[in-house]
């Protein structure tokens, strides 16, 4: 029995690790300036935990193998160093890993969430609702109009509850269903929710943050590669949660300017 267990555990471990190593199912390529640090952190963690995983499971399998079918009276052999060596090893090895990962990881985290957006970033206001994302650009006047929840009317496309009749700044706000941004430019998002909790997740940016009703959550990034990427909701928000998505469209600067002009004209 012990031998069978040992073989099975070893096989499972090796097959599992193989899929990790071969990147059979893997993250999409990173397109964010802050994403590289996250990927690096992931690789470090994979290696560190991979070693622990392999060592732990193999040790278990090994000891199970050894414990089966042996002659009696093997009491004499105890794990070298006894409990003390284990406690010390655990504290030292795991402690070092923790220390390293925290130190490096906090930089990756801080770059995304603890640094302010660069001055001069392109500002976009993002609203999440059941079950869509809408994006608002300030328009030529560079100013966002005020939001009035009582004026929200999805039917006429007034998703944000703007009041252009009385609010000058709101008149030229551009509201669209995609997040269109120029490449290599810092973007500063402000996230708010119309109804319940949602989340903003772009895998290629290596970023995720919740929309909290009642709060305006900042998020900033710089995309380094043109393309079309999914923005998906990851915070359970109701029956349409599975289908709640929008697209991040990263364009070249001229293409973006063209797009902006078209939108402003409307």
């Amino acid at each position: 029995m012990g031998k069978v267990f040992a073989v099975l555990v070893t096989l499972i471990t090796l097959v599992s690790i193989a899929f990790f190593v071969m990147h059979t199912w893997w993250l999409p390529p990173n397109i964010s300036t802050t994403g590289k640090a996250v990927d690096h952190q992931l690789e470090e963690t994979l290696i560190g935990t991979g070693v622990l995983f392999l060592a732990g499971q193999l040790m278990l399998g090994c000891f199970a193998w050894m414990a089966s079918g042996k002659a009696k009276d093997a009491r004499a052999k105890r794990f070298p160093g006894g409990a003390t060596s284990i406690v010390v090893a655990a504290i030292v090895v795991v402690g070092i890993e923790i220390f390293t990962l925290t130190f490096v990881g906090s930089k990756a985290w801080g770059a995304i969430y603890l640094t302010p957006a660069e001055p001069g970033s392109l500002r976009v206001d993002v609203q999440a609702e059941q079950f869509a994302f809408y994006f608002r650009y300030p328009g030529p006047d560079g100013q966002f109009g005020g939001l009035h929840p009582d004026k929200i009317d999805d039917g006429s496309g007034n998703y944000f509850g703007l009041d252009p009749a009385n609010d000058v700044a709101a008149r030229d706000d551009i509201v669209v269903g995609s997040l269109v941004v120029p490449v290599d430019r810092p973007i500063a998002l402000s996230l708010h929710s119309k109804d319940v909790g949602h989340s903003f997740y772009v895998r290629e940016l290596r970023m995720q943050v919740d929309f909290v009703p009642g709060l305006n959550i900042p998020l900033h990034f710089t995309a380094t590669q043109a393309g079309k990427y999914e923005i998906v909701c990851t915070q359970l928000c109701g029956l349409g949660h599975y289908n709640m998505k929008a697209y991040l469209e990263v364009m070249s600067e001229p293409d973006y300017e063209q797009w902006l002009k078209t939108q402003a004209g409307q």
């Binding site: 029995m1 267990f5 499972i12 599992s16 059979t24 199912w25 893997w26 993250l27 996250v38 952190q41 992931l42 963690t45 935990t49 499971q57 278990l60 000891f63 199970a64 050894m66 414990a67 089966s68 093997a74 009491r75 105890r78 794990f79 006894g82 409990a83 284990i86 406690v87 655990a90 504290i91 795991v94 923790i98 990962l101 925290t102 990881g105 906090s106 985290w109 929840p149 109804d195 319940v196 909790g197 989340s199 997740y201 895998r203 995720q208 943050v209 919740d210 929309f211 009703p213 009642g214 709060l215 909701c233 990851t234 359970l236 928000c237 029956l239 349409g240 949660h241 289908n243 998505k245």
Partner: protein, 602 residues
Amino acid sequence: MNYSPTQLGSDSMHEVSTHPVAHQHTAPTGFIRKYVFSLDHKVIGKQYYGLALVSVFIGMVLSWLLRIHLAYPDYHIPFLSKLSAAGAPGGVMTPEYYLSLLTMHGTLMVFFVLTNAPFAAFGNYFLPIQIGAEDMAFPRFNMMSFWTTFAAFVVMMASFFVADGPPISGWTAYAPLSAVGRDAGPGLALGQDLWAISIAIFCIASLLGALNFIATTLDLRARGMSLMRMPYSTWAWFVTSVIALLAFAVLLPACVLLILDRVAGTSFFIPAGLVLSDRLQPHSGGSPLLWQHLFWFFGHPEVYIAILPSIGIVATILPVFTRRPLLGPKALIGSMVAIGFLSYMVWGHHMFVSGMNPFSANIFSIPTLIITIPATIMTLLLTASLYGAKMRFDTPALFCLGFISVFISGGISGFYLAQPSLDTYLHATYFVVAHFHFVMAVASLFGVFAGTYFWFPKMFGRMMSESLGRWHFWLTFLGVYCVFMPMHYLGLVGNVRRYSAFVDDYLAPLLPVHRFITIAALLTGAAQLIFLWNLIWSRFRGPVASENPWEATSLEWSTTSPPPFDNFGGKHPVVNHGPNELGVDGPDGTDFLMQTAAPKSS
């Protein structure tokens, strides 16, 4: 204190009651007193186990329904439309019904299985016996806590039968989705109210239970049963009950506040200006994050409530089959206590990307990573205790080995999620689902399986079938890896969780992986029927068990199988050893000393 001769026991050699014993209660008569409203902790333990068994099968069937829907969205599931015509017309679930079943799956499993089985069921049955007591400190409270749990179960199941069905907000019931009421969408009306009420009732039941465990452990230990001589399972139940006492005491007011937001128009969790179903909601000023903080302050200790008893059970069982003491008893117990303590400092790691101040992510990450140290110590102690042993590979031992393997797997994935910089990618993906299923659904459950095979002879006086047990183990062990290991890969791709369908370009190509998981889940689930059959058949036809078939040392093995009504037949055990006397020279050529054996001659 003087004992006059007339106060001393009878002249029977077996009746050494050397002073008038304050029996908790006399032996019950009548069916109701004996099997229904029983004050006997053993009956109550079995009742909890039965409730957990029913809950786990319902929860498992729910998971089959979910998995089938994900992998074969167009398949018409037979009988599903009978359960809910609105939720599954023609046997195909609506998106909201998927979320309803998901919510109930999580709720039943976390509360009614993982808090009930390893903790309430086995703890109730064996804690008093393992410390040498006749019963729990407060038998009437004990009975009340089971029936209150049962009431919570009934209320929870009632949500299946109300018009809108069970709630769709997940077992975590985040506000404001769970708090605004009907306007938030289908499934959030009466079903959510019933959920909140049920959980509040469950909190009260758990608080009563935890109080009983703590008082019993502190006050009712037999002579010679010092704290350090208690078996590991008792220690685990004790630490768990302290965690539970403080954790459920926080969930209860949280549920009350949620209910008030829903029915009384308060705004604890609902801010101003929300527009749902085209209606501006009349609330203002509340904080959704407040719900998350309150919930996870309970929620994280809750998962340690789910795992610690299983760790204790495995630590108790493993030495019996290696025939030698566990390495580092003090380190093991210390680790359990450390985990209990640290479990209260880490709740924010569920909220790294919740919109709370990002700086606090760093603060929560540190104790989260530190908690891996006692967990690693325990895992290594269990593993290293195998070194050099000759093991008996009965089914309880197999599940202990399996436990170690799956606990390693589950713990490792926690390492990723504990780091905010990785959680920013992995949060709310299948990576998280893989992690918590490995540690809770698999590891904790393996502890329950090990405990069942180990203690069944004591509880019912019969052995379970060893061959069926082995089939159960191998199929389950292989099966759970097939089900949950692929979920890590899905998480790395960015497969978001709690989705009722994978319709977009990005996720649709992952369907083959989901199909593999579904088939593995169905097969592994089917393998559990072997366990169920084994339980039922052995209860009536299993070979009769002796008092101590496994040659174990703790106090439950020094009494009959099953134990008499007052556990020790009028005797009061006196403890002279810890539970670790294995691999020593015992009486009659055996290799162990029971805890009640005579002290080693000096």
